[in-house]
Symmetry: C2
Subunit: 109 residues, 2 copies
DNA sequence: CATGTTGTTCGCAAAATTACGAATAATAAT
DNA sequence: ATTATTATTCGTAATTTTGCGAACAACATG
């Protein structure tokens, strides 16, 4: 445990960042709503997701900061939607991780 | 924002739990090691991943608590490996989320 | 211009996460 | 029995996350 000079790869950092953004029920609920396209507006989400508006804003910001969603001002409201580019990036990274482990021939007993 | 009686679905909670477990570079590094089957032992990981042993233990515990890995005592060390059953469950849940959003015809401008 | 609507930011508090070294436990080796 | 090896748990501290209501900003409406 002496060779500690090496940190994590950019891929590992990015992967963890995406996963962390997905790591809360409110944020999964937001993405579920966006997936069902039932709505894309803050106000609509606020009626369905059981948290205060300010808390919802924070979770939306975190998804935005992670790059997974984006917001467009559509007065008088704000329309949120998936950031396709980064979402695809996340999808491929998760897929790769799952594939790598799936293809792992090592089996524990 | 009055209909707050409904919490999150079990699926959403489970999804968030898996994602949260993946939400740290150390834990991604652990899984990368398990994927490469380069090693499965705490001591080996400790030489590659730049954190104190006790910290590594904590991260291993979190992956264990989330059900993603399991440890088998193989004296004098401990052999860690993927929990296939739960890993497959996680994979299918992530795949589903990505598929749902991929198939979403709603496009923002 | 006063009011209402929509959503963010601020201020704060509670809880969880992250990290480390020291202490501990369990087992093997001398 | 003492010592060495391996990994976890304990104790502690710093940081981050989560959550809420109040205050605020931006714009539309009466």
């Amino acid at each position: 445990m002496n060779n500690k000079e090496k940190a994590f790869t950019a891929e590992q950092e990015q992967m963890a960042r995406f996963a962390k953004a997905l790591g809360h029920p409110v944020r999964i609920a937001i993405l579920d709503l966006l997936a069902s396209q039932a709505c894309c507006y803050h106000g609509d989400m606020s009626e369905v997701i059981p948290v205060a508006k300010s808390t919802l804003s924070q979770h939306l910001s975190e998804l935005k900061d992670a790059g997974l969603i984006q917001g467009t001002l559509t007065l008088p409201s704000i329309k949120y939607c998936i950031n396709r580019e980064n979402w695809n990036k996340a999808r491929s990274m998760f897929t790769e991780l799952f594939r790598d482990i799936e293809g792992n021939s090592y089996v524990c007993r």
